[in-house]
Symmetry: C2
Subunit: 158 residues, 2 copies
DNA sequence: TATTGTTATACTCTATAACTATA
DNA sequence: TATAGTTATAGAGTATAACAATA
């Protein structure tokens, strides 16, 4: 299962940035699932946990906007984290429509181990390049995710 | 919708390679959909078309293995391409279990315009970096998608 | 016994519409 | 009127199990 088909010419797709992104992302997702599926954690749940830790009291809609997850899709996600006892939902102090999110004591207790496994997971891929290459990769991925549309032509040409 | 929340500290997730990959991939998918959804094309359909063009007569299971798409999931995908009149399924000459795939005349006629739009789409993102940066990015993404598992410790250290 | 194509099925992610209660 | 949370729903991607025909 290493080489899919030596006789197949895959250059047409391998030359595509979008295709390489997809395959690289899939590889990291597979490793992530291997590590965190036994704990019942998926990427969206873990990302929410990390941001709630860094931003205690953050409201659900703000968390969703930061993670690019629609409000409607945040609900079952937060339900899951709450049912697992990792977070608590509180009424927001300044807005009675909103829900403020915090880690529960159990969530705080579990985060160190989660972060350790996450760091191992990340290192498993970062170790395939030099520190300089890694820094540039993070920078370039950041440029790709920026919204370039709606501004006309601002690209200074490469 | 450019800045989700200026008051939110997102460094915990922005420091993750997996998260940056996800966001960069999502940005390219959004642009891809804007271009190709009106034509009824999705990434999997387009990738299949490109590989069938480069590998006329390729059998379905080999195409699936190359694209990392399970055989069971290839069936509705090929049904869709066939129903759209873009490909034809033929009996494989050497194996009566297999199905050989080829572009139909209509598929061949449509591919040039598809490739043009695809190149524009790709250039919209590649233009955000220098040629050298682009080359390194493609290389690094290729390293990430390689199966590093099952070999023990072969990483030469960065 | 293993593989190819296929069907059926299930789960996750994502997207939209509509409702309520607040603002 | 606009927003926060919620519900319901639908589409796409992905995964496994099982079957018939063939290798």
């Amino acid at each position: 299962m290493t080489d899919p088909s030596p006789g197949t010419d895959a250059t047409a797709v391998n030359a595509l940035l979008g295709y390489r992104l997809r395959r690289a992302y899939a590889a990291m997702m597979a490793d992530f699932a291997e590590v965190f599926a036994p704990m019942g954690l998926r990427t969206s749940l873990l990302a929410a946990l990390l941001l709630i830790e860094s931003n205690p009291g953050i409201i659900a809609s703000e968390l969703g906007a930061t993670l690019a997850i629609k409000r409607a899709n945040m609900v079952p996600l937060l339900n899951e984290l709450e049912a697992a006892g990792l977070i608590v939902r509180e009424p927001a102090p300044d807005d009675r429509r909103a829900t403020a999110l915090r880690l529960s004591p159990k969530g705080q207790a579990k985060l160190p181990e989660i972060k350790r496994r996450l760091a191992d997971h990340e290192a498993r891929f970062a170790s395939r390049m030099t520190a300089a290459e890694y820094a540039l990769l993070m920078d370039l991925l950041g440029r790709l995710q920026e919204d370039a549309g709606e501004h006309g032509d601002q690209s200074p040409k490469g």
